[in-house]
């Protein structure tokens, strides 16, 4: 299935776009998605850490993903 991912901060710079479209297996969990992104974009390996948000919440690795979910990459935050 095809997943659309929102990008912010350095994630946007690494991929060079505000959105990423990525093809994953039907039974895709957050950890699988993260691994697929790291495989395709090794630049993320250099980050301190990388979280994934599903529907505006930090998601655990075992969370299942549906194409209708709003998914975002959350590189290390630095507000304030």
């Amino acid at each position: 299935m095809r997943i659309s991912i929102l990008l912010f901060g350095i994630a946007k710079d690494i991929i060079g776009s505000k959105n990423l479209e990525i093809e994953v297996n039907e039974e895709c969990r957050v950890n699988d998605l993260k691994q697929e992104i790291l495989n395709q974009y090794p630049g993320f390996e250099n980050l301190k850490h990388l979280a994934i948000a599903v529907n505006n919440e930090y998601a655990r690795g075992e969370t299942s993903i549906k194409p209708s979910d709003e998914i975002a990459l959350i590189p290390p935050v630095s507000g304030g």
Binding site: F8, G9, I10, K48, P76, V77, S78, G79, G80
Partner: protein, 136 residues
């Protein structure tokens, strides 16, 4: 009581949001753009937010803070966009009957905001730019 805004933050507006006849103390934290960081001159900061999630994470912080301390009202305003030296990045105002709760709660909000709220800060120098905290 939560705002993520590309307009200049109005400090008094945030303070007025938390005023209460039950309040004995209000603690306000104002984050301002500093001219130096790690021995380098900063020209400006650029803030970017995942706004919907930033608002919901801020709401979680406010809820947790109200469970932890006897505070009355909490207001948080965070800037997005380019901010020059001396401009405001964030304003947090907390009112409480007693000052101890106001101080501790305000400190907790800013500390937790920096850890969990999806907002990113790029430091703009004369000779380049850096996303803060991105790399180890």
């Amino acid at each position: 009581m939560i705002e993520v805004t590309n307009q200049p933050i109005d400090i008094m507006e945030q303070i007025k949001k938390v005023e209460s006849p039950d309040a004995g103390g209000i603690d306000v934290f104002i984050g301002t753009v500093r001219n130096r960081t790690r021995q380098k001159n900063v020209v400006a900061l650029e803030f970017e937010a995942y706004e919907k999630m930033a608002v919901s994470e801020l709401q979680k912080i406010i809820d947790t803070t109200k469970e932890k301390w006897p505070v009355l009202k909490i207001a948080v305003s965070h800037a997005v966009g380019r901010k020059n030296i001396g401009e405001l990045a964030v304003v947090i105002a907390v009112s409480a009957a007693h000052r101890d709760a106001a101080f501790q709660a305000c400190r907790y909000v800013i500390d937790t905001l920096k850890q969990t709220v999806p907002i990113w800060k790029k430091e703009i120098f004369d000779d380049g730019e850096v996303w803060v905290s991105a790399h180890p």
